[in-house]
Amino acid sequence: MNETLKATGLPMYKQEADSSATLRKDNQKDGVAQVVNTIAPAKMTLAEVRAKLDGKSGKRYWKSLDELADTPAFQELMQEEFPRQASAGEWVDAVSRRGFLKVMGASFALAGLAGCTKQPDEPIFPYVKQPEDLVLGKPMYFATAHPFPTGAIPVLVKSDAFRPIKLEGNPEHPIAKGKSDAFTQASLLDLYDPDRSQFPRFRGEQADFDKFQEGFAKAVAATKTGEGVVFLSETITSPTLAGQWKQVQAKYPQAKLVQYEPVNNDAGRAASKAAFGDYYDTQYKLEDADVILALDADFLGGIGFPGFLPMSAAWAARHRFDKDKPMNRLYAVETMPTVTGFKAEHRLALKPSEIDAFASALAGGSATLANPEAQKFLTAVLADIKKSGGRFAVVVGPGSSLAAQSAALTVNAAQGAVGKTVFYTETVAPLPSEHAADIKALVAEMNAGKVQWLVMLGVNPLYNAPADLNFEDAFNKVPNTVHLGSHVDETGFYSTWHINKAHYLESWTDARVYDGTISIVQPMIEPLYAGKSAHDVFQTLLDPSVSAYSVVLAHAKTYMTGGAAASGGAKAAGTDAAASAVAAGSSFEQAWRKALHDGWVANTAFAPKTLGAPKSAPVAAAAVSGIEISFKPDSSLYDGRYGNNGWLQELPKQVTSMSWDNAALMNMDLMGKLGIEENEAIELTLNGRKIITPVLMSPGHPNDAVTVHLGQGRRAEAGRVGAGVGFNAYALRTADQPLSAGGLTVARGHGLYDLCVTKVHNIEHRGAYAQRDLEHPESDKDGTYSMAGHEAMERSIIRYATYAEAMKNPDFAHTGTKDSNGTLVNKVGYNPQGEEVPHEDSFFPDNWRYDHVAVVGAGTEVLQNKWGMSIDLNSCVGCNACVVSCYAENNIAVVGREQTKIGRIMQWMRIDTYFEGDLHAPVAHFQPMLCQHCESAGCEQVCPVGATVHTPEGINTMVYNRCVGTRYCSNNCPYKVRRFNFLLYSDYDTESLKFMRNPDVTVRSRGVMEKCSYCIQRIEAVKIEADKNNRAIEDGEILTACQQACPTDAIVFGNMNDPKSRVMQRKAEERDYQVLADLNYRPRTTYTAGVINPNAELA
């Protein structure tokens, strides 16, 4: 039944409303497994939540609504060590366990013997001529860049025998500084996606690219002027491609180029044009901003926001608690709760129309807001901005409305931020345009029959064009359609020609990063399927014999100065520079090689422009009635381009922890008003267009507003991963209202849909100990009891303080003050129960001595390694970059929606989101949770086969080949960070995925436990290098994958024996604490308590 539903692309519903409990009982009775998507979480009703919340106040932590409601049903669920994992049984398909055993009987007998048989012969295929600089077994690193519409991300590619196996930010690049993000990390999997298009097609049949070139060139030449030829491209990021387009335009002046991205910066473009008469990009230097106001700008969320890497790093650097340096303060005004909003000191949840009103009031400086809460917020923000003396920034981005955009321009100019923290430059995209207006005009032309050739470069308009344009009808009126794409997607399937696109790791191009610096994108591997790039398509009309490499090389001469080094200063790109480069070929060659080696072309960053005051008047907010809908790109899938990427589909989304799904987010009040329960499927109607979607209650969402995420609901053409997942929100989105719209109606009566949310996986019953806490609370006396929330409070999992409190008592994470009733009063989450047990009191000795010092050579000492990690909760923004990096580094398997839902997701680290306080305006804390590598680890003590042991360097290591799968270790782990291969999750068969695997990490098979290893393969590699040279490992020489990816430097790993190491400096801070320290497991991973800097007026 599942399969049929999936194939038709319809969301799956659970038909019976209340069968979950019954089904669970059935399972236990006869052992017959059920289809798992019928196992719903323990239900809460709004009334129950309300009743619980009524009259409660104070600091409460909770992870999900269910636990907040804390119903008996939820308690029952919590009796299980692993909620749902156990109740689901092992089998999620309808094969009964007994039947399986019957079938497997014979195989088991053979399997027993197979364990003793010898390995098959393994062949060796040596090179015929080995590349000169290749040392097999040692990785090589090459610089390139990941082109993205909002600006390229410079990367360093780890290449094993010329196969890219890991992407990292380019450590020498001034913008990336070695950091990266979830999309860049996951783009590696896109390269090896087995569903990629593997050959060009003509009317669905395999065809040659040459044939296309011939036919296309002839047809266009016949038009003489290029009339009727339209290129519909994704945002052109390559200066070379823009140059090629100009050549095409010169040759065929009537040919047209339209750029369309469903998630674009149209509002920003329009605001810039209105204010300055031309398109400009805004660059923020947040290191100099004391006050930041994010107007619907999720700049900590990922590279969907231009400048994510430098901005998040700068924000985090200024947000560290340092007694001598003032902290910055972040205000966020937004609709959907984002990580930026929850990292902000003050977050104001407003409907889209209210944000417009807020922006107008902000720009006008006058105070007339209907909402008193917003008014108070505005007054406080304005006062803070004035006080900062220009050291502030109003940040807007692609998601911000026109009103917000122009308000930012006005306020930044009027209050003096421009030139201090805000800079205007020319656009990173070489051909800026307003996408929605352009595609609207294009569709009109197509409908009028004026388009003969529609060449679509990397776009998928049949999936994501605005719904009101009826792109499909217009598309059918075009006689010749050409689609260049990595997949035969919704558009590629129906196009006359489909050309398989090369991945950026396979092709030559160039791109600009946030600050304008140009990076050369060079291929890392021969195109797996002989894919083509947009350069090749344009070159068809110019000179098909010229390769993309030659085009990029030739165009590089316009911005790369060959004689720059000799003349003592680089010239800017320009005509005379090009001339000198041609004259001095050898110095150009040097510059070219340097650019390829370094990963960027020096001195190509934009110089800030002086534009004067913006000319436009602030945009008045339009009156919008009824329920409003807000469209946001998915935090994991962006606009849907990563739909077939298993790592990103499975990645729990920021804040909501939803995986393999999207949902209509709304707050509890609206749900109450409409009578909707969580997990119910509803029908959204906007201007007569309808979609059916499940509902997820979103704490902190403004009332009378619904947020939907774009990028899901791909059709069968998307590929085996993305097809039929979620619902397609593009079906409601129009060209004129791409960000938000009013007048939404919601209808019930579409059954239930069991969302896949991972956050309930890890709230587990911790046995009698936790029960005692609940019965005899020490500090949380009148609490809204919820297991995890209560524990977070009672056992001090999350600790933080305000700046003032931290200044008064820097040791706030370990001491508390009590009022006259004996209740702890300070807001720091401290509790004596959460305290470490003094080591002397412990029965458990250290596993090893870690104090060995080797003397190597004269006066050189090598300290023994004693590994440890520290995670700064002040800096962690919950962006998920670390999680995806861990996927790539450690060959972690993707398990799929059904398995994820029952808690079998395999990722070694997760970001726990703890909500605190009022359901309407909660505070959230992000806590990366991964193996803590405890010194007296519970897992080690219960493993009957010694498969998890303590190494002499303190790491709790997993020996896969010893593991027999008892799962005792996982049961005994209080942090619940162990992952078990219930089924054979690793894909051993798909050829292309074999290329991607990290050769230094075992691909785990069925029945094996796994967990974070502190990237033991990286440690061993560095250790061998150091041992060869008889030296100590330098601090920072080993970076774990999560640490390397983290854009805000929240994670630090190193030798705890070295007091000078960064990890020890962090651990030496007073705010350093262990999670669940009272268990005396003595974790090596510790956390630095957060400090926030709230405005007293809003507190």
């Binding site: 003793c116 012969d121 062949p123 060796i124 090179y127 002499p952 020996v959 230094d1000 041992d1027 008889n1030």
Partner: protein
């Protein structure tokens, strides 16, 4: 009622009990020895290779050094199987028509690899690393045996985990001066053939810290002694430093030579000098499995 079983069946019952026990034990012993047998470990087996390459001929006969073909043994986990090009360096000149070399020529012409069969094949969950072993004083022959005497390549040792651990728990039994890594005929020191070693007091890579000689430096001309003491891994820098050491009169004997007449003594000395990690660290799981 008549007895169903005759008295003699008592003995039969006892015997069958004993027999059953014996069968169980025998089965265990059989499986155990099967697991350790060459049938499973392939110890001593010579698989059919496309070319019957003789290490004996090339190493002993022609004097090729190991690294001529196994180029990355000092710098990578993988020692390296030579590309066809390496064969053709010589065989484009000599034995150009030999029938045995047909697969090599075919590979050279077609660009397809010569498909060898792996002789030393560890399980995939074992991460063995050549470079650290070679750099820390484990000779090729310690694991691979007298390859120079093997007309056809075979596995000298079982390569089972117990065999690895024998050395990882007590590396002293196999350590040799790094200058002797590629010396197939290296024999452990004995009272008949002692070894003299001296440190030069420098920091840096293992190979440059200790110099060893096999002739008594006191008895023979010191120059000769020093000439016969390569400092290993093709690096003579260490020796120069020894000579340049201040406080040593020019041409005088290095005073710190120590004489070793047994492998254990030498092994313990080298363990200290080479900073070999402790047995605990070397036999920890993550060293080989991850």
């Amino acid at each position: 009622m008549a007895q169903v079983f005759d008295r003699s069946s008592n003995a039969l019952a006892r015997a069958s009990l004993v027999l059953a026990g014996l069968i169980v034990i025998a089965l265990g012993v059989t499986l155990n020895s099967l697991q350790r047998s060459p049938w499973v470990t392939r110890q001593g087996q010579r698989p059919d290779q496309p070319v019957p390459f003789s290490h004996k001929h090339h190493v002993e006969g022609l004097g090729l050094q190991c690294q001529y073909c196994h180029t990355s043994v000092e710098k990578s986990s993988y020692a390296g199987i030579p590309p066809t090009k390496t064969c053709m360096n010589c065989h484009s000149q000599i034995w150009t028509n030999a029938q045995l070399l047909e697969p090599v020529r075919q590979s050279w012409i077609t660009g397809a690899s010569i498909q060898w069969i792996k002789v030393h094949d560890l399980p995939d969950y074992v991460y063995f690393n050549h470079e650290i072993h070679v750099n820390k004083g484990i000779g090729c022959a310690s694991c691979h045996g007298r390859v120079d005497e093997m007309p056809l390549m075979y596995e000298q040792n079982s390569l089972q985990m117990e065999w690895c651990l024998n050395c990882h728990r007590n590396p002293a039994v196999n350590l040799r001066p790094t200058s002797e890594i590629y010396n197939m005929a290296w024999a452990a020191p004995s009272s008949v053939k002692p070894v003299w070693c001296a440190t030069n007091g420098t920091a840096g890579p293992t190979a440059q810290q200790v110099g060893c000689v096999t002739r008594d430096p006191a008895a023979s001309n010191p120059q000769v002694a020093q000439l016969s003491s390569p400092t290993g891994l093709g690096n003579a820098a260490g020796l120069d430093k020894t000579q340049a050491e201040p406080g040593l009169p020019a041409g005088a004997m290095p005073v710190n030579y120590v004489k070793f007449t047994s492998q254990i003594e030498l092994g313990h000395y080298l363990m200290k000098q080479y900073h070999i990690r402790t047995a605990n660290e070397l036999s920890s799981c993550e060293v080989c499995h991850r």
